[in-house]
Symmetry: C2
Subunit: 414 residues, 2 copies
């Protein structure tokens, strides 16, 4: 019998397991995952960008404290943090929308002429594509890229070092719901029986635990719907396309100067649809993606595939309008993963029911917030009402719960 | 091209179609359903009980105005309304929970001795089953039973009479999402294209409409997840067991007097788990059911089956503890259906996105609230901000929406 069984070795599951073990050194903690090692599912499909530039209290706590943690362990953990920033390219309407909130934040504005000179930006609009003109660019310095694999390895190794255990290649079929006092009747637990989640049924047998932590990312609906408990998380496919930049004008763009790090430009975020372009100067590549909504199904998929059409006819017209240097750019690769979207408010969900602790719904910012979310879930496990975050601030555990949920709307949405 | 296409001919779809046509007599309105006639899906699986006894503003508007409508058209429509009431049997804890809210309501209290005498109630508790003792019974007079088939026929026939049309046996495969200005590109609509739901794809071809109304009850996640729009509705199986009462003590119970209608006792609702027992004196039957939560999956099923074990080991121990006369009662039939549960707050959901109007999530009180919910959805269709309900009161359409949702918590929950 384990004290804690953590289902899912993605970044959220690993952070949660690490913090559970840290807060409860004598507890027996087991992590299981269907894949062959830690962080190999949708965590591995992240673009690996982070920012600590948010307006809402929720995000400033979750992202702010997590990013501080990553910065402090970066050297020890080899996280390869680059503070190359985000360049958020704004239409007049978008700029008006956030202008009133900018006071007190660190940022630098670029006008259209500067952006044209630095990155060849086309600042005009295109009514046929519904694309607005560019008003300005807002460079956010507290943002950059992180080596997700190294972050996974850090949590995993620290967890093992403290005595945590892990089993891979274990497929969880369902959460085990059992009566606290079994009577041996068919179909237990029955409605008059006090029932609890007592572990999981896997393809290699039952694993029982005092508390079962469900940290399965986009797979949440599969386990939770079967249990009949609403977690408000659904999966959506997200695609990333790799564009080669070995030659010509893109080779200059991928090393463009004039921002925060010489030869390492920030991530560009284009107006309206928020097509993003992450430069990879060492590899002479760009990662390009965009989150679509209407028409993109909520669906759990084992191996989501990127769609060539989505780049060619969806992203590319927008991308090449604003950054014409991408017109002849070759797509040299692509991948797709699942976002675990909290459909309530796009913020993480952490709650307990019947000895099952659910943690998920990071909604695309799992890397950015993993440390804090893991601390909140581990605090819930430990019976604490307040989670102490890395930067010393605290968050009420129930703020991310369902009953007394208290999350703030974010102004700086990408 | 239809003005309005209503997908789903359950009670909510029919009420919505009727009120759309009533408010817009010149619009061409089509109802489609996969089954062979109106109201043959989960509407037909209702127990057919209603009440106008609620605390929240939301329910007093939705149920109150609907019940008034049913009472007024009852004779004309042959709804066979019986105001036999609900007898809500309460534990001390349950009574304490609602006592403070009872002022201003019409009800009658029965003490344990009276209930023992009238219906043979066992007022003691059973710690082994976690069953509390009985404090009292609260008889709610504004409640009773309704002929659901007749209500379906009423809306359907009125709709046809106004010139509405219907097609049955039409299976909707998906909502059709199209660009407002198609470019003939593969994979349209793309992210930069303004897209709208332009109808449905069915097994007999496309049906296009200016507005598509999705009123598919428990099937909501199938169509809506595919569209990628969250409706916050999930399906759960609900089971009803038919108990014969032709003989002995049950034959007396099914005609028990001392309540509102001689020879027609109220529906009994037992403490804690809310096992309900609907008497059918003419047929010498009881309908018995109970809504379970933990362990009952959220799942869309074409033909949900009742489970003998659920009655035998789940309901029966509770039922026979409080009403020992059911000990030897024969189960002579059973059925199961799907509740369309709104997992936000168990209240209906009505919203519009991209020319698609969603109406659903009645959460088990679809019959009770159908008229008002249909009026709200039809008001949204008609571009009105306020829905005029049957009793003259109004409700803001956005109160049942997602963006500015404003529903109140209900105190009198069954």
């Amino acid at each position: 019998m384990w004290d804690a069984l953590v289902v899912g070795a993605g970044i959220i599951g690993l952070s949660t397991a690490y913090h559970i073990k840290r807060l409860n050194p004598h507890h027996r903690v087991l992590v299981v995952d269907m894949l062959g090692g830690p962080g190999r599912g949708n965590t591995a499909r992240s673009v690996g960008m982070f920012r600590d530039f948010f307006h809402s209290r929720t995000n400033r706590l979750l992202a702010g404290s997590s990013v501080k943690f990553y910065m402090d362990v970066s050297k020890q953990a080899g996280l390869d943090l680059r503070m190359n920033g985000y360049l958020w390219i704004l239409s007049p309407e978008e700029y008006r929308g956030i202008r009133g909130y900018l006071r007190g934040y660190e940022y630098r504005m670029y006008d259209g002429d500067e952006l044209e000179r630095l990155i060849g930006l086309n600042t005009s609009g295109n009514p046929k594509l519904g694309l607005p003109e560019v008003e300005c660019g807002m460079l956010i310095p507290k943002a950059g890229s992180i080596d997700v694999k190294a972050l996974v390895a850090y949590y995993y190794n620290q967890f093992l070092r403290m005595g945590g255990e892990a089993r891979f290649g274990v497929k969880v079929r369902r959460l085990l719901l059992e009566a606290r006092e079994a009577k041996g009747l068919p179909g237990e637990p029955h409605l008059w029986q006090d029932a609890r989640v007592s572990g999981v049924e896997t393809d290699v047998g039952l694993i029982r635990a005092k508390k079962t932590v469900v940290a399965v990312g986009g797979w949440a609906p599969v386990l939770m719907d079967r249990l009949g408990v609403e977690c408000h998380v659904k999966a959506k496919k997200r695609q990333v396309f790799i564009v080669g930049a070995r030659h010509g004008v893109l080779n200059r763009l991928v090393r463009a100067g004039g921002f925060l790090m010489e030869g390492y430009p920030p991530m560009f975020i284009l107006p309206k649809f928020r097509v993003y372009v992450r430069p990879h100067p060492e590899k002479r590549l760009f990662f390009v993606g965009c989150s679509d909504h209407l028409g993109r199904p909520f669906m759990v998929e084992d191996k989501p595939r990127p769609e060539e059409e989505f780049y060619e006819y969806g992203i590319k017209p927008v991308l090449t309008h604003y950054l014409p240097s991408f017109s002849e750019a070759p797509v040299v690769g692509s991948w797709a993963g699942l976002y675990a979207i909290c459909t309530l408010d796009h913020q993480p969900v952490v709650f307990e029911e019947a000895d099952m602790i659910f943690v998920g719904g990071a909604s695309g910012s799992g890397i950015i917030k993993a440390d804090a979310v893991g601390r909140v879930a581990a605090s819930l496990y430990s019976g604490l009402e307040e989670a102490e975050l890395y930067d010393g601030r605290t968050m009420r555990v129930s703020d991310l719960g369902l009953r007394n949920r208290r999350v703030e709307r974010e102004v700086f949405v990408i």
